[in-house]
């Protein structure tokens, strides 16, 4: 029969041994791309070793998302840092959901699990309102011995302003930044036959859209073109997943501003959203914007209603859309990586189409034309290794590491990176996305300063999704959304 007792006994012992080996082993990083040595002069190297001496052997733990910029810092920069300082870095790369959930739990419960966390610029205000983050300006002032000679907050682009409080104290070191631009298929737009056909049908020249009406004409034209020629080609992308936050984001971050509705239509002084109470979320402009966007679903590939930012990039890279609103971090690989894209070399970068007056608003600072996305690393107030983490943050904030990091993840957070020869060379291949990032940067803006970002957006999702699914129209959806927004804000203690 079964020699259960003997077998059981043996296996029990074996498994006890195995689980006993659950002691943390040295973090093993995956096969990393060959990276050059940090181009730091010899004195700087010894500065790191000296400054880190009291903390050598310490392990700091951090968490971020599984994107190329984060992966680069996790795989390449951690190794360089460990060599220079002897401080170990355990870098947790995880999904978008967990990247928020776990640090929030940690910081709120003060459990000191994470020593540095990814702060997306849309959550920084929520974190600041709860005193989750360490004041880096203050910390460096109090401990000048930790200030690296190669680190200077002033070298960063204006993106760093997103991580300052009202007094100008800085709470995060930027590590990635992109603008959400309008991508279009140069090969299609510059094709003389197609141009002629467009002119014949619409009576004006085919060009990347500057107004919404033009965008619509383009979308309609190319969808028809795709159908007639049996291509899998549609006129536009739509980030319209009917069950994921990404669709709400596209509406409020990308579409509404281009119609002149800023800050999601929320009045930042009174915390109201409905027109009756001084907000703009259900204003005529907003409703026009939402209707326009819903109309675009007619010219988008069928997966649009299942598309998050992820699938939008993939759809465009698969040649399924002639235009699209795509996050900047995708522009580079869509334009250059043959393993992931079939439209390399044919990608054009443009400012999204705008309604009248929006450009002036953006130039004057009253408004903006689109979304400036990105994130920083910050130190939770609950961390037990703040000094070691501060060294890490300065390490990744060095000027010397920026260029290669930019090449690996198409992100730029420092002024000097724009003129780096590596970037200049890449720039030409991506329709000058980097130059445009520099030039247009000031016209774009990050998320509004909401201390309740997640809760607000989470509550606004349902009516927007219902509109995308065709169950209600844009007007009803926005009326509902503004009502819910006001209720949420009041519940959380904002506005009366």
């Amino acid at each position: 029969m079964f020699r259960w007792n003997k077998v059981l006994g043996f296996v029990i012992v074996l498994s006890m041994l195995l689980t006993a080996c659950a002691a943390p082993a040295a973090p093993a990083a995956p096969a990393a791309p060959a990276a050059e040595e940090a181009a730091a002069p010899a004195e700087a190297e010894s500065w790191w070793a000296e400054a880190a001496a009291p903390y050598a052997g310490v392990t700091i733990r951090g968490i971020s998302e599984s994107t190329p910029p984060s992966r680069y810092s996790a795989e390449v920069l951690t190794k360089q840092f460990e060599e220079a300082t002897g401080i170990k870095v355990e870098f947790e790369i995880t999904s978008w959901d967990e990247m928020y959930n776990k640090p929030i739990k940690d910081m709120q419960a003060n459990t000191g699990i994470y020593d540095f966390v990814y702060i997306e610029q849309d959550i920084i205000d929520s974190y600041l309102a709860q005193d989750f983050m360490t004041n880096l300006t203050e910390m460096l002032a109090e401990k000048p011995e930790l200030q690296s000679p190669d680190f200077d907050f002033d070298k960063f682009t204006s993106f760093i302003n997103d991580f300052k409080d009202a007094e100008g104290n800085i709470f995060g070191v930027p590590m990635e930044a992109f603008i959400k631009v309008n991508l279009y298929r140069k090969d299609l737009f510059e094709n003389p036959e197609i141009q002629a056909a467009f002119m014949e049908q619409y009576g004006y020249e085919l060009a990347p859209a500057t107004t919404h009406a033009q965008y619509r004409d383009n979308a309609e034209f190319f969808t028809e073109y795709g159908r007639e020629n049996d291509l899998d080609l549609w006129g536009t992308t739509v980030q319209g997943h009917t069950g994921h936050a990404s669709s709400t984001y596209e509406l409020v971050e990308t579409i509404l501003p281009t119609f002149g509705v800023y800050n999601w239509g929320v009045n930042l002084d009174t915390w109201k959203a409905c027109v009756e109470n001084g907000g703009e979320m259900n204003s005529d402009a907003a409703k026009e914007a939402f209707s326009f966007w819903l109309d675009m679903l007619n010219y988008a590939p069928p997966e649009a209603t299942s598309s998050t930012w992820d699938e939008v990039a993939a759809s465009f890279a698969a040649g399924r859309a002639a235009q699209g609103w795509v996050y900047g971090e995708n522009a580079a690989w869509i334009a250059t990586d043959p393993d992931r894209s079939i439209v390399i070399g044919n990608v054009g970068v443009a400012i999204p189409p705008l309604a009248e007056g929006v450009m002036e608003d953006a130039e004057s600072g009253a408004g903006y034309v689109g979304y400036y996305d990105g994130g920083a690393f910050g130190i939770p107030y609950s961390s037990n290794n703040k000094e070691a983490a501060l060294l890490w943050l300065q390490f990744i904030g060095q000027e010397s590491v920026q260029a290669e990091w930019a090449a690996a993840g198409s992100r730029i957070v420092m002024e000097s990176t724009f003129s780096d020869p590596l970037i200049v060379e890449m720039d030409g291949k991506v329709d000058n996305y980097y130059t445009k990032l520099k030039e247009w940067g000031p016209l774009f803006r990050g998320a509004p300063p909401f201390p309740f970002h997640n809760a607000l957006r989470g509550n606004m999702d349902p009516p927007i999704w219902q509109a995308l699914a065709g169950e209600i129209d844009a007007s009803t959806a926005l009326d509902e959304a503004c009502r819910i927004a006001e209720e949420t804000m009041m519940q959380l203690g904002f506005g009366e």
Partner: protein, 291 residues
């Protein structure tokens, strides 16, 4: 010699582990359910709120909607799985060459992680990537879009669950069928009863314990479903596949509303308890009546 202490001693490790991992968190959730607590509210700390959360629940259209949806979903999938599983188990009782292979193949979906099930079905059904919409469109001209049409999403979610869990029902039913005594059935056939009567008056009543056990487990799990559906549709389109498990997930994780989320969880827990209890009583009554 065999004192009670020995008995408790054997039981102790189980009680300790379950007490720590199960009871303590439950008490915590119980307390939090009576507070007003959102991580990003103006205060950020839990505030005692009495039964406010539960009062809110009663009028929460979103929650009630998700409850109704989940009940419908559970009814559809559990009944389908019970029927299909029973029929397939019948077909597996007799010997035929290759039976073991078919049984193994049939049991495969049980081995797939729920999150992988969701991902697989998403890969099957997303237009542009999936084979199902493509074939349905090109061969039959039917539009099949899980992201667009609520009915498509709901039906697909149900199909996915049936695909995933029917093998479980088949195996338990098979176990039950093989353990039944043969004589009563054969005697009845000899006495002139037809197969349908044998099934209805002999087999089913004798299988009642197995049917009850299986439906309990399936109901408990179907009411809590999250991973698979979340990967497939995220709860959409709109709210058509936002079942209670996903609703709670959104409240707790995305809206960081711990107080309300705990209250909803408690309610769902209590509700499941009552439902199972009612079912238990109901099915045993039917079982007794048959005898």
């Amino acid at each position: 010699m065999r004192s009670n202490r020995m008995g408790w001693g054997l039981l102790a490790p189980t009680l300790i582990i379950l007490g720590v991992m199960g009871l303590l968190p439950f008490i915590y959730v119980l307390v939090v359910g009576f507070t007003d607590w959102n991580v990003f509210s103006a205060t950020g700390r839990p505030v005692w709120a009495g039964a406010n959360n539960f009062r809110r629940l009663v009028f929460d259209a979103e929650f009630l909607g998700s409850m109704g949806r989940t009940l419908l979903f559970t009814a559809i999938v559990v009944i389908s799985e019970l029927v299909i599983g029973f029929l397939l188990a019948q077909a597996l009782v007799k010997e035929f060459p290759g039976k073991a292979i078919f049984r193994t193949i049939h049991a495969l979906p049980l081995m797939v992680a729920p999150i992988a099930v969701g991902a697989t079905w998403r890969l099957l059904t997303v237009p542009g990537l999936g084979i199902l919409p493509h074939v349905l469109d090109k061969t039959f001209g039917i539009e099949y879009n899980v992201g667009r049409h609520a009915s498509h999403a709901f039906a697909t979610a149900a199909l996915m669950d049936i695909w995933h869990w029917t093998p479980f029902v088949t195996l338990t039913m098979l176990a039950g069928l093989t353990a039944l005594p043969k004589e009563p059935m054969e005697q009845a056939l000899v006495d002139g009863a037809n197969r349908w009567q044998v099934l209805r008056h002999l087999t089913l009543p004798m299988m009642m314990p197995v049917i009850i056990t299986t439906s309990f487990i399936r109901i408990m799990d179907a009411l809590r479903i999250v991973d698979e559906v979340y990967l497939l549709t995220g709860g959409g389109p709109g709210d058509s596949t936002r079942f209670m498990g996903i609703y709670i997930f959104r409240v707790v994780m995305q809206r960081t509303d711990y107080g309300y989320g705990s209250a909803v969880s408690l309610l769902v827990y209590y509700f499941t308890l009552v439902l199972c209890w009612m079912l238990f009583v109901g099915l045993t009554q039917i079982g007794r009546q048959q005898e």
